[in-house]
Symmetry: C2
Subunit: 418 residues, 2 copies
């Protein structure tokens, strides 16, 4: 009988327990780092009113890639392509009652209707970290440091990644000084910069033409350009003085979103085989005012799960999964199941993740099953073990076995599991 | 200036950090209990191919309430209204390579286009727990015990909730014995049972008519009915013998989904003010074969966040949130920010969730800010504290203050925070 298709919808992923265990262990590590810095997680529905993404503040490419549809009541709904507009909406909604500044983060899924390809999915997970309510200065320093600390918490060193930083205010001043005064010309130039890494030097030279803001930034003879350049260089120098020594100025960093107003940055793997940015972020002081009221200054960054997991795997930094069962209790016969379950309770009470077999296979097959599942310890428990008060624990990776008194099993396993 | 609307899309919720902290602390407690029983979390995208919900196995009321739309490539997509079909799809997809039985769970959002009302949202969170690959027997016992253990892990006692259990096989046999042989008649009778609690005794009496399977079950004179009744009563007796003493037979339990084939159960608050079922589940041995291949027996249950949180609140069992900052470091002046951040590092390294103030308000305002945020401890750190190596920690709930040596602060706070 031919049944329904078992593939997931095109461009999204199924996470089997092994995959989800790996990813959720990483997310929990990220949560731990962020909460130690006083950041608190917020969440919202992926369903947002479509109008939120249709205002001028948003990038065309995002608008063209949304999942937007009409609900049964005729309301236009969009599956959020990114979190920052939702954050701005929520901040605006309770701006009168909340204590500022806010240190917020969110880990969740985002949706983009893209042609599926390596590293580009229609649904991906993103961590968004934002500091809302303080202008440039200490907030910018903290946010960039935090991005670096997240990577370091997995064991990355400052040789493994580089933080490239620029300033939208500087780019704006340079465009003006270079004579690019119309919004469209500026936009076209930014798009060119964004694409530069994919062009040859000759192609870029030909495309950038005479009025080149990059040269203006390099010369820094225009007073406004010089002032903005000094500001961003001072920020970088402070970061370096505080130990973030892998940050450098890069006038070619633009970042895709229109809403950035100040510092922008990207973090890249130093391994050239992994060219996509790991983290991206910047200051966006005007976004909250899209929802009315005075602007509220904000700075933040985001990173996606695919590039981040690639980075951890490439550098051999993936943490051990913290969710898989730790011990397998086999049963000599199915009649022993209640005894095994009852004994399992003593391990669960000690916080040990305990898998009790409840089927009718023989013990040898149960040991093989434990190996196949990657569970490190095995023992059988039935009427004989109950009578003798002794169990034989197999350490499956080493093919070793030892006899332990029943009332010492939980303690002994805790010791073995570290 | 009138800006964009800050309300979320109709029928969904924004989770501010306080709300999410409460909910995620509860979810993590659930994860802990389940993983101690060897259950592992899986996840999938909320986007599923619409055809999966359009087969006969699914309840009309669910099909009528889905969010279904066409993507930009003309594919019909549904936002999952429940998780079980996705579970069945994933199990079917890898049935040849996975070791059975599977103990799986998933905590995530589900979507239904309902008229928003108290307790009925368009997006809600649901925990789905499933044991796949063993027939009725120990697997059923474990799953029902586990539902009970989840409630007990929050401090609920068996007086706080009741487990009502029935059997679809028994209901089927009783319908047959009562002469209800056509599928529509059976369906109509089950819908009637499902609505019974909302009807008066007279209304129910009038509606059920002569051929009443409930009477057939009570009498149990039909041999098939008697056999099925004995099976479910034996299951209940075993549960009671193993300490699940608040389970009882209830021939009126049906459960909404068509795919159940054996035992079905509901858990209700014993407080009559909270009449909606907290948990619901049962055995569904045929669902995986919708995707082709032989049937794989399975049993599971699910519960939604709204009724569950209501239960915890009503019984005063909500755990303390584990995500909010634990200490607030104030700064005498903005120039002290780097010193405060650096000192904050020593607390973060000790695992303390540390909020460092980085603005320009006076210390008194910072103390008030800490109180407003609900952070229990406050101290200021600046050049003076650095010089004296002493800090004054305020215990904000008690309005007490004590001087602690700088290098003892982390240890002291760890002690205070338990």
């Amino acid at each position: 009988m031919k049944g329904l298709d078992t593939e997931p919808y095109k461009g999204v992923r199924d996470f089997y327990p092994e995959d989800w265990g790996r990813l959720s262990t990483v997310f929990n590590r990220i949560r731990e780092v962020l909460s130690k810095y006083g950041y608190e997680e917020y969440q919202a529905s992926p369903l947002e009113r479509a109008e939120m993404y249709e205002s001028k503040g948003n990038e065309e490419i995002i608008r063209e890639q949304t999942y937007t549809f009409e609900d049964r009541g005729g309301r236009r709904v969009t599956l959020r392509p990114e979190m920052t507009p939702t954050l701005a909406r929520m901040v605006a909604h309770k701006r009168r009652e909340m204590p500022f500044p806010l240190r917020w983060f969110s880990i969740g899924n985002r949706f983009r209707y893209e042609r599926p390809q390596r590293g580009r999915l229609r649904e991906f997970f993103q961590t968004d970290v934002d500091f809302v309510g303080l202008p440039a200065g200490e907030a910018d320093l903290e946010v960039v440091t935090l991005a670096s600390e997240i990577l370091k918490s997995f064991g990355a060193t400052s040789e493994d990644f580089v933080i490239r930083m620029n300033s939208r205010a500087l780019l704006g001043a340079a465009c003006k000084a270079a004579g690019l005064t119309d919004a469209e010309g500026v936009k076209a130039y930014w798009l060119l910069l964004d694409k530069k890494s994919k062009m040859s030097a000759e192609e870029f030279e030909a495309a950038r033409g005479d009025r080149d803001p990059l040269r203006v930034i390099e010369e820094a003879s225009d007073p406004e350009v010089r002032a903005e350049k000094e500001k961003i260089e001072a920020l970088i120098a402070t970061l370096q003085a505080r130990g973030v020594d892998n940050v450098r100025f890069d006038p070619e960093i633009v970042r895709g979103f229109d809403y950035y107003t100040g510092m922008v940055f990207e973090i890249n793997d130093t391994n050239p085989e992994n060219p996509r940015a790991l983290f991206g972020g910047g200051r966006y002081d005007a976004l909250v005012s899209m929802f009315g009221g005075d602007p509220i200054p904000a700075v933040g960054f985001a990173f996606g799960d695919v590039t981040f997991m690639d980075f951890l795997e490439t550098h051999n930094l993936l943490p051990k999964s913290e969710t898989a069962p730790q011990v397998y209790i086999g049963i000599p016969t199915i009649e022993d199941a209640p005894l095994a379950q009852e004994f399992g309770e003593t391990l669960r009470d000690a916080g040990i993740r305990t898998f009790v077999y409840l089927g009718e296979r023989e013990l040898g097959a149960q040991v093989k099953d434990a190996v196949k599942r990657g569970i490190p310890y095995f023992f059988a428990y039935g009427s004989q073990e109950e009578k003798s008060s002794m169990v034989r624990i197999k350490h499956l990776a080493k093919s070793e076995e030892e006899s332990i008194e029943e009332n010492q099993v939980a303690k002994h396993l805790k010791g073995l599991l570290g």
